[in-house]
């Protein structure tokens, strides 16, 4: 069971300021290999900033972040080492519009991992099949639907064979009928591959079903964390109750 394993991600008293704005006010969190963490919280609460700190798209100002035994500091080699183990999926997809779906996926393996092109392309086609759009290899992002774009983005992140996947509101920019196809891919990742995942999302159905642990953040602090069955049915904190009542009664 993952319970006995050493944590793969450790956040200790992490602080972050944007100018004078204090966005993370001492966040501490430990995540074990294979765990799926769903992070919830009102907008502007610092949840995106927190996961962006884990692969150093943002630099934290105080505290410690250790990913798979590597501490994140200004040392570029450490940052590169961590980035090649952590994949991230963005709210706005951020696919490269001048490259086809296949080229989006093979770019990093070829340029960073130095894989020969045929090997990278074979792996990319397998990944496209895994996310359910094998026929879209030669298509440019602009010709794909939002759900398909996000699935290519997931395949692109997986191509680097990361140990950890971060999801920053992966379905918030999608039309309702496309949300499920992306969530299905994420369910598959969690169940079949045992991927360690941190997911920032408002999809509470998905959270209830897939998450091992819920983390509720408000105003830069972790207010409450726990197993989804307790979190949804008997939250301890008033702010959690208020948030859940707002989000579940839509």
């Amino acid at each position: 069971m993952p319970d006995v394993a050493a944590p793969i991600i450790v956040l200790e008293d992490v602080h972050k300021w944007f100018g004078r704005l204090h966005v993370l006010k001492g966040v501490s969190l430990q995540i074990r290999p294979g765990e799926v963490i769903v992070v919830a919280g009102p907008s502007g609460s610092g949840k995106s900033t927190m996961i962006r700190c884990i692969n150093r798209l943002e630099a934290h100002d105080r505290g410690r972040i250790v990913v798979d035994g590597i501490e994140l500091t200004d040392d570029l080699r450490h940052i590169d080492a961590v980035r090649s183990e952590v994949g991230i999926v963005f709210q706005s997809f951020n696919l490269f519009p001048h490259l086809t779906a296949l080229e989006n996926i093979t770019l990093a393996p070829i340029t960073v991992r130095k894989w020969p092109r045929p090997r990278a392309e074979r792996a990319a086609r397998e990944l496209l099949a895994q996310v359910g759009i094998p026929e879209k290899a030669g298509t440019y992002p602009a010709q794909l639907s939002g759900g398909q774009q996000q699935r290519v983005a997931i395949a692109r992140a997986l191509a680097m064979q990361p140990k950890i996947m971060l999801f920053d509101e992966p379905t918030s920019a999608l039309d309702p009928e496309m949300i499920q196809e992306v969530l299905d891919v994420m369910r598959g990742l969690a169940r079949d591959m045992g991927m360690t995942m941190i997911v920032v999302t408002h999809e509470m159905g998905f959270a209830r079903e897939v998450a091992n642990r819920m983390v509720f953040i408000d105003e830069g602090v972790i207010i409450e964390e726990g197993a989804p069955e307790h979190f949804f049915t008997s939250p301890k904190e008033d702010r959690t109750k208020l948030f859940l009542s707002k989000i579940l009664h839509q």
């Binding site: 798209l57 980035r83 951020n94 490269f96 440019y140």
Partner: protein, 338 residues
């Protein structure tokens, strides 16, 4: 009964040519007056130009073709100029056809590499200062355009750098050069070099360097705008995949930025092409310089109109060719957006 969704073909536009003319040219009295007015003045102006062109003394052009094309290049070298020009023109034609036929970029690149090597060899025997006429114009434009591209990219990237020293240097270079007219830059640079090294650097070379320094600043500014037009999410996604900063720039940002920059870049190059005429000020005789020299001869004293109309037509042909090339390039690179 369930309604079935049926796709219909779009309605056909089966209006005749007459109907089209009526709808677009004679739609109400104001449009009719405008149409008639424009047609009448076009015919009148065209007739004027035609009558003048038929009566003009084109001897100044036809008898001096060699001067117009290569200036005072010694006769022994002229064949080299013909060959170089012929090779480049052929390669340009092949490229246009090749792009249409979707030939691989690598093949065309190899063709141009071969052409450049042959041209350099052909010119190796000629002293730079011996060139003149259209050749000088083209050589100046080509060299300063090709040199200002890489320098401009570096300066443009430097201006967005996080390191204050690099940013300050690039910003002061761009702002400094943009504050000076090209003609001042050419004069200043030529005199400056003369003071330092006498005649060690040929004047044509000085013009090339001066124009490159000048143009690089503008290209740098176009690059900066192009780079900043690519969203921050693109760099973030590339960095998150483990690409180094320069790899993200090379594979992700620059290709997208370049596409946005083409119109501005080609505009800059067209203006640079025309600005080669300013090198008359440091004693070079480019296309326009040859024209002025011919006008000083007693037999052509009165052919001012012919000389300047010919120069105008030549500049117009080359500038519109560049515009056309940029449109083709834009369409080709627009592939990902459709």
């Amino acid at each position: 009964m369930a309604t079935q969704a049926i796709s219909l073909p779009p309605p056909k536009d089966d209006s005749s040519a007459l109907e089209w003319i009526h709808r677009n040219l004679f739609d109400g009295w104001l449009n009719s007056v405008l149409t008639v007015g424009v047609v009448v003045s076009l015919v009148w102006f065209g007739g004027l130009v035609w009558r003048w062109a038929a009566a003009a003394h084109w001897d100044v052009v036809t008898r001096n073709m060699r001067l117009w094309l290569v200036g005072l290049l010694p006769l022994a070298y002229v064949w080299r100029a013909w060959w170089a020009g012929g090779l480049v023109l052929t390669a340009a034609a092949v490229t246009v056809v090749g792009v249409r036929a979707r030939v691989r970029a690598r093949t065309l690149g190899a063709l141009w590499a071969g052409i450049v090597i042959s041209v350099v060899w052909l010119f190796s025997a000629i002293r730079l200062d011996q060139i003149g006429g259209l050749y000088l114009t083209l050589v100046l434009a080509l060299v300063s355009i090709s040199a200002s591209c890489p320098i401009g990219i570096l300066v443009g990237i430097g201006r967005t750098s996080r390191l204050p020293v690099i940013r300050l240097f690039c910003t002061s270079y761009i702002e400094g050069v943009r504050g000076i007219p090209l003609i001042t830059m050419l004069l200043w640079f030529s005199i400056f070099v003369s003071l330092l090294s006498g005649e060690a650097i040929p004047r044509v070379m000085r013009a090339m360097i001066g124009m490159t320094i000048f143009s690089s600043a503008y290209v740098g500014e176009i690059m900066r705008a192009g780079i900043q037009s690519v969203g921050r999410g693109q760099t973030e996604a590339a960095r998150a995949l483990g690409l180094a900063g320069w790899q993200a720039m090379l594979y992700i940002v620059l290709p997208q930025a370049f596409k946005n920059m083409i119109p501005a870049l080609v505009g800059q190059f067209i203006s640079l092409f025309k600005d080669t005429t300013l090198t008359v000020i440091i004693g070079l005789s480019d296309l326009l310089g040859v024209g002025r020299a011919l006008l000083a001869l007693p037999e052509y004293l009165h052919d001012v109109k012919e000389v300047y109309v010919f120069a105008l037509v030549v500049f117009f042909i080359f500038s519109s060719a560049m515009s056309y090339g940029s449109r083709v390039l834009e369409r080709r690179l627009g592939l990902g957006d459709r």
